[in-house]
């Protein structure tokens, strides 16, 4: 009896230690990755990074054009993706909460949410780049917008569902039409959550590389022209990191640090803004 009890206690202790070890391992990885980024990225960080163009191999330079390119592409993606996402989410939560279309869209949307982003790049290449005959900033923005939409749809629907029905009933009882109820009452009540959704979407796309590789491609020069190939931070990191030149590699690390800090800042802001409901 005591022997068996000891054995049970022992396996419990082993499991506890394993759980602790697993958690340490998970957190350790985070620390290792962030540590390496800070270590290698900070050494290259200077004013020139934000004021100079990407250099040819062997010369010094900065990351101005990819940073601006990334900002433009992200803004474009948000401008295209957010309205569509919010409208679709509105239909699912407000008009068709229980109908068949909503459950199908929800299912498909959840799949799009984790679908491989490189496939999105192939799709946009097929429908935009190939017919237009050249790579372009527009194509890159559309590709990123396709990644924004599922995130925004999901959070909009979740947040609107959390709005208490009593608010809607009160608005209806004073004669407010449905569409105005949604716009003036529900959107306002769900505002914080919906903003969170957009921030999460921006965080998601700002590091995306795969869909940009063959849509917006890359541009060595200053080019705010959306109709031409456009530089972006992730693609430049990809190209520079795999190059044999030390200068380029160190710029890649600096770029990686900038992206990571931006993404982490965005997700922490999103979390701080988020209402009590958990984001998934």
């Amino acid at each position: 009896m005591t022997a068996r009890y000891t054995a049970r206690r022992r396996s419990n202790a082993v499991a506890t230690v394993l759980a602790l070890a697993a958690t340490t391992l998970g957190l350790g990885w985070l620390v290792l990755i962030l540590g390496a980024l800070l270590w290698k990225g900070f050494s290259g960080l200077s004013v020139a990074v934000f004021t100079e163009m990407t250099p040819p191999p062997g010369a010094s330079g900065g990351l101005l054009n990819p940073i601006v390119g990334s900002l433009i592409l992200t803004a474009l993606a948000v401008a295209i993706g957010t309205p569509i996402g919010i409208l679709a989410g509105t239909y699912m939560a407000e008009y068709g909460r229980y109908d068949r279309l909503t459950s199908v869209v929800r299912f498909i949307n959840d799949i799009l949410l984790s679908a491989p982003s490189i496939v999105v790049g192939l799709f946009v290449y097929e429908v935009m780049v190939a017919p237009m005959g050249h790579f372009s900033g527009w194509a890159g923005g559309v590709a990123l917008a396709m990644l924004v939409i599922p995130v925004v749809v999901r959070t909009t629907e979740d947040m609107l569902t959390l709005v208490p029905d009593a608010l809607r009933e009160a608005a209806t009882s004073i004669g407010l039409p449905r569409s105005l109820t949604i716009r003036y009452i529900c959107y306002r009540a769900a505002q914080a959550g919906m903003v969170t959704g957009v921030l999460l979407a921006v965080a998601r796309i700002s590091g995306e590389t795969a869909p940009l590789l063959f849509t917006s491609l890359n541009n060595q020069f200053w080019s705010p022209n959306l109709n031409a190939p456009m530089s972006s931070l992730p693609v430049v990191i990809f190209q520079f990191a795999l190059s044999p030149y030390k200068d380029w590699q160190s710029l890649a690390w600096t770029g990686a640090l900038i992206i990571t800090l931006a993404v982490l800042a965005l997700s922490i802001t999103a979390r701080a803004l988020a209402p009590s409901g958990r984001q998934s």
Binding site: R8, S11, N12, A15, T16, A19, L20, A22, T23, L25, G26, L27, W29, L30, L32, I33, A36, I84, G85, L87, T90, Y91, Y95, V104, V105, F107, I108, N109, D110, I111, L112, S114, A115, P116, S117, I118, V119, L122, F123, E126, V127, M146, I149, V153, P177, R178, S179, L180, G207, E208, T209, A210, L213, A241, L242, Q249, A256, I259, L264, S280
Partner: protein
């Protein structure tokens, strides 16, 4: 007369006279406009919802359309052929599919037990004040862009493995009779095993956060009953929590698997892009997504491009099935909780 703004539709209807009926007319017009706006908004939102469906349809159709030339040329043989020769326009998907499956398998082999143990720690062992920060820190791993994993894997992790883990594996497991071929060859640093390990770090947060959520959803009375008859913490988790949360955990695992299968950038950096199937996990290989990322912009000729698009189609079909299964399982557990 009371101010026009305070009258209701009923007031207007009850009164008569030219002046009032003109007002009623105006009022009806406003109401009409509102009704129209209402219908318009409703249809607009509906169109956007349908648009999301069309997006998926568009992706599938364009991929099928783009891969037609390759399908016509190679037929079913594309899936089982091992050659990949752009010069002679001869393509087969087997090495890429093999690499995708093997790297994802390695990733899940590590991420599932570790993720479950972290979820166990977070729900049962962790002091409450530490629970939220730890959970957030693990989820931050999911927020780090995949290209960061790639650059870190290439410059930090791969050299580290080359000097430590890989020689160790070659010297120990490489001498065990049956599994020796798995760990043969020189330690390159990059390769299938490295990619699998990086993927494991990347899917860990998905497995962890979903497992934690379903663990937390286990009714406390079940756990309390088990503690009441004298179970240890581990026994409660092993025999009460885990069986109860089984479906959700499997859903979370499938979700992580879907991510691992489609992950591109991190793998592209460290897999080595070699179109061959080696028995050794230390050798370089390739995956579907890495092949596309590496070769698409350089692909000359319709057949080459088309072959790459067909690879994309295969990847999409595989991940679609895995993700659909994951969603189905998670939906089932959501219904049971809600």
């Amino acid at each position: 007369m009371d101010p026009a703004g305070r009258r209701s539709v009923v007031d207007v209807a009850l009164q008569d006279g030219v002046l009032v009926s003109a007002e009623a007319f105006k009022r009806a017009k406003v109401l009409d406009r509102l009704r129209l706006g209402d219908a318009a908004f409703r249809h607009l939102t509906r169109a956007a919802a349908v648009g999301v469906l069309l997006l998926l349809g568009g992706v599938i159709i364009s991929l099928i359309d783009g891969s037609l030339p390759a399908v016509r040329t190679f037929g079913f043989g594309f899936l089982v052929s091992e050659r990949w020769n752009p010069v002679t326009d001869n393509f087969g998907a087997l090495p890429a599919i093999y690499g995708t499956v093997v790297t994802s398998f390695i990733a899940m082999l590590i991420a599932v037990p570790v993720g479950l143990m972290i979820a166990f720690f977070l729900t049962e062992l962790c002091p409450p004040w530490l629970r939220r920060p730890t959970g957030i820190a693990i989820e931050l791993l999911a927020g780090i862009p995949s290209i960061i994993y790639g650059i870190w894997g290439l410059f930090v992790f791969a050299p580290f493995l080359q000097h430590t883990l890989q020689p160790f594996l070659i010297n120990t497991l490489g001498n065990v009779p049956v599994i020796a071929p798995l760990f043969s060859g020189p330690p390159y640093g990059i390769g299938v095993l490295t990619s699998g390990l990086i993927l494991a770090i990347m899917v860990l947060p998905f497995v962890t956060s979903i497992s934690r959520d379903v663990f937390e959803a286990v009714p406390p009375v079940l756990k309390e009953a088990a503690y009441g008859v004298g179970c240890t913490t581990w026994e409660v988790v092993r025999h009460v929590v885990l069986p109860y949360a089984r479906v959700g955990v499997i859903g979370g695992i499938m979700l992580g698997l879907g991510r691992a299968l489609g992950e591109t950038m991190a793998v592209t950096f460290v897999i080595g892009n070699a179109h061959r199937i080696s028995a050794s996990v230390l050798a370089p290989g390739t995956t579907i997504s890495a092949t596309i990322a590496n070769e698409f912009t350089e692909a000359v000729g319709d057949l080459y491009t088309s072959a790459l698009i067909e690879l994309g189609l295969i990847l999409f079909v595989i991940t679609f099935i895995v993700l659909a299964a994951a969603r189905y399982l998670l939906l089932r557990i959501e219904r049971r909780i809600g």
